[in-house]
Amino acid sequence: MSVLVYINSNGGKLMKSALEAVTYGKMIGDVTVVTNGSTGDDILSSLGAYGAQKVLVDRSFDGTDAQQLTRLVGSAAEATGATSIVFSNDLVGKAVAPRLSVRLSAGLVSGATGAPDADGKIKVNVFSGKAFGHVKVNTTKRIISLLPNSFQPQEVGGSASIEEFDGNAGAAGLVVKATKKPEGGVPLPEAELVVSAGRGLKGPENWGMVEDLANELGAATACSRPVADIGWRPHHEHVGQTGVAIRPNLYIAAGISGAIQHLAGVNGSKVIVVINTDAEAPFFKAADYGIVGDAFEVLPRLTEAVKKFKAAN
């Protein structure tokens, strides 16, 4: 089966979500990757290690305009005769996959957490992570967009051939006036480890200990909704029902009570550690490890313990 995987060029670097998408594509068939922009040939051919046979690259435009990418991926789907098209369900995939679904009359399964089963049904996250659904696709072609952090990239060895491709991308629909991207740090949706804190920290001046632990672990930082709303932390750090939904391997929450809306954004985490002074905090019911204690004492102690562990290993 011919599978087409779109990956975000992201200024020349491969994101983990791109490797996840190629790995997923490889599980269902022969993978051709399509991308755009100026990512170097050496970087693109390294996708072969994850199972891509060929990479089609349109160097005529950069960026992630949804209309241009829809035309590009549509042209590539036609050129390759792909019957499955795979995206990461990240912010680019969310804009492009639905458009492409209309363009190709292909059923779209978004938020996939599993490979198609023997009947072609695909498991997805629904009800903000509180349940799973199994989706059947009624069209010949299908588009699958993957929930980030649901599949581990797997190296299978090999190298992909690179082909210049003209996707007839046309004009962009949006004009980008400015980009605001804080320097450094791990982008939250890509992070495998996340340290998060809430109102229990009492003020933005106390976030140093959250950052210390995150730095020691190589983790991203996050926060609860009230903390973003009162401006202690930037909005893009807010995880929860109305903020970002994340699925890291480890989520450490300090001073967050664990309201149902917060849980909806983090319940896909593999392991949850909760630190709270209130033993009755609802978050403990969703936690794997709980510490009933004061974050002001526990966080620095945990940072020290991680430091010690890293020195010993």
């Binding site: 804009a95 639905p98 049904k121 740090g185």
Partner: protein
């Protein structure tokens, strides 16, 4: 300015999630339906604010059955001028988007607003599908929207930050947190909503590209393991050896 706001019903965020008929149907037992929060708090309220500042009208559209009319009246109570119900049970994003696009075609809407996703199916599909059907630009996951003549300026979420983009109207915009503040309908709004036009239009019998054939619930979480707050070495040891996450 003519604004169309697409709304969907969703179970209240505190609803118990359960399934019936051999796990093939969402159990509506004791479930209270609300207007999907992203549609109501962000898309509808921002649409109303724009109307209040530059004039025009706000129409809400939903694909649903007569049972969904209470949620439509709620959206009218918040301030929309009129509502349209496309008479079909909403089953799939493609069906919903096709119905809405067929309705909106040729009506001269300057802005079509949706919430960024529904809280039950989390698909984030309908806005992009409407945009492609109507060959319009889409600003996906906008957290700010201003209109200046025939141009809209938006803040749009990107991985780890945001982009400021400009788009020519007409355009489709999916609305995320930050765009507006929730409005609670007042008694006058609730009274007025009873007599506002709610037009029912026939569905155009679009096909289902996808179907949810079964559901299941995550395995129950085992009880939390409590760690002595004095002994963080023990936690690190468990995270390394037992959970294998560091």
């Amino acid at each position: 300015m003519k604004i169309l706001v697409c709304i969907s019903k969703a179970p209240d965020t505190t609803s118990k999630i359960a399934f019936t008929d051999g796990n093939t149907k969402f159990s509506e037992d004791g479930v209270q339906y609300i207007v999907n929060p992203y549609d109501e708090w962000y898309a509808l309220v921002r649409g109303l604010e724009l109307k209040e500042s530059v004039g025009g009208s706000v129409t809400i559209v939903t694909v649903g059955t007569a049972e969904d009319e209470p949620t439509i009246r709620k959206a009218l109570a918040i301030g929309a001028d009129e509502a349209v119900r496309i008479d079909a049970e909403a089953k799939d994003a493609f069906q919903v988007a096709t119905e809405i696009a067929n309705y909106a075609k040729g009506q001269g809407f300057d802005l079509i607003l949706t919430g960024k996703e529904t809280i039950n199916y989390n698909g984030s599909q309908v806005a992009g599908m409407i945009a492609e059907h109507l060959d319009l630009p889409l600003v996906s996951l906008a957290s700010k929207l201003d209109v200046n003549g025939a141009t809209a300026t938006c803040d749009k979420e990107i991985v780890g930050g945001l982009e400021i983009v400009e788009v020519q109207l007409p355009a489709v915009i999916s609305c995320a947190k930050g765009m507006a503040e929730q409005r609670i309908p007042n008694m006058r709004g609730i009274m007025a909503a009873r007599t506002k036009p709610l037009n029912v239009v026939a569905a155009s019998a679009s096909v289902l590209n996808t179907e949810f054939v079964a559901y299941d619930l995550p395995a129950p979480k085992s009880a939390v393991k409590l760690i002595d707050p004095e002994n963080m070495d023990a936690l690190v040891e468990l995270l390394h050896n037992e959970a294998k996450v560091i």
